[in-house]
Every structure is written in C-alpha cells, then in structure tokens.
Amino acid sequence: MIIKNSIEGSFHLTGGDFTNAGIASSELKSILTELGLDDNVIRRAAIATFEAEMNVIIHAIAGTIYYSIMPEHIKIIVNDMGPGIEDIELAMQEGYSTAPDWVREMGWGAGMGLPNMKKNSDEFKIDSVVGEGTTVEIIINIKQGLR
C-alpha cells in the first residue's frame, strides 16, 4: 500500500463519556485497515490512540484527536482541556496513576496508559500545563510495501 497524499481528520472527545469512549480510535483503526496498512502498524496506532482517548475521557473535560496519515508515517495529536500533569517523568512510570477508584473498577487507571502510548510509538512527545491541559504527539512509521 502506497499512500500518495496525506489523509487527515479529527475526532472530538467529551470527558466522562464512557459510553462512547473508544469509538474514535475504533474509527481510526477502520480507516487504517481500509488503507491496507500493515497489521502491526494498525494495531500500534490503534492502541496508542485508544490509550490517549481513554486518558481524555478519564481526566479531562474535553479533547480532540487529530490524525494525519502520510506516505512515511501516521501522526496522531491528542490534546485536552484537563487538569494537566504536574510531573511528567513520574506520570510516565508504569503503575503511576491519579485515576479515581470508580475508574479503576471499570478496568482503567492502572498507570499503564502513557507507557503504552510510548511503547507503541516510534516518536512520542508529551507537553502539559497544569490547570490547562495536555497534548501528546504520537508518530508511527509506515513500513511501505509489506502488503
């Protein structure tokens, strides 16, 4: 599969909306599948986006996922209006979480979200301002010609 032109789009996310949580990532996964990208690239992009989406749902008031699929890579930017992260280094540690108990009872908030995003990215950036919000940028390289 060779992508000639970049394909771009966005999804709006509403904080606390667990009913629709994950739909954006699911739709992005469908778009990548229809493009015929490598299964592993699709899976990594879906997982990283899903973790970012869930963080917005759990922690923020609202957020947006922007994606652009280019010939060489997929870029996903997720920004939110949320509490921000005081200590990013600490938040990146596996197992560290500030999620409330009711979120944990649903199987989330185990402190693996940010590490999972980083693990599935080829490039990962995070920027946060306390009291304003957080932006993550995920880049996943596309290995051309595998399918």
């Binding site: 667990f18 997982i47 979200g113």
Partner: protein, 118 residues
C-alpha cells in the same frame, strides 16, 4: 487450541459466536486491567476477564482479541453483546473462577504470550 476445545474445557456457554469453532487460538490474556490487555496480549488471543461492560469489548477490538470468556458466571451487559456482534468478537461465559479457568486451559496446553512462549 481450538475454540471448540476452549469452550469444552471451560464448560462454557456461548453467548455469541462469530468464528469457525475449529479456529485455533494461540494465546490467552487473563486480566481485569484494560491497559494490561493492550500491553501484553497478541492478536487472535482469548481474553479471560471478570469485567462485563461494553468497554471490555471495545478494548478487545483494539487489541485484536478473537474471543472473550467471562468468569464466575458473569453475564456481559446487553450493550457489550451488541458491540461484540458489530465487531465480530465471540463471547462465552463460564461458571469457573479466573484461577480455575486459567489452570484448566494451561493443563490443556494453552499458553500466555509473551512470558510462556519465548
């Protein structure tokens, strides 16, 4: 292990099935933590869990899980079953505990990737 053998081993009730019952399932992830599923599962696995809400099915979809087994006779919520139908993820319910379900499948030869399949 075939899906047929998993169903028999867990003495499970099939809630919804979307695959050939002879489909081979090569790995299992037993967890109630969704990020662990995203981190430690491989595609075409079985998820064993005690969580029954639609989010479990959504996470399974993202992780390319083939089938979900709900333990201790926990029934998936109606919305979870509907989402599984849409996404083609098979659902079964077993009365066994997480420990016993995993133990029985292990004895029969199913393994968890990556730690057991190095």
């Amino acid at each position: 292990m075939t899906f047929r053998k998993i169903i028999a081993t867990l003495e499970a009730e099939v809630i919804f099935n979307s695959i050939d019952i002879e489909t081979e399932i090569y790995s299992v992830c037993s967890t109630d933590l969704m990020s662990d599923l995203l981190r430690f599962s491989i595609p075409e696995s079985l998820l064993i869990t005690g969580l029954t809400q639609p989010q479990v099915v959504r996470t399974a979809e993202i992780a390319d899980v083939t089938a979900i087994a709900f333990i201790q006779d926990k029934r998936p919520e109606k919305e979870a079953i509907e989402l599984a139908r849409q996404k083609g993820i098979s659902l079964v319910v077993t009365r066994l505990s997480m420990f016993t379900a995993c133990g029985k499948l292990y004895v029969e030869g199913l393994r968890s990737f990556p730690e057991d399949n190095k």
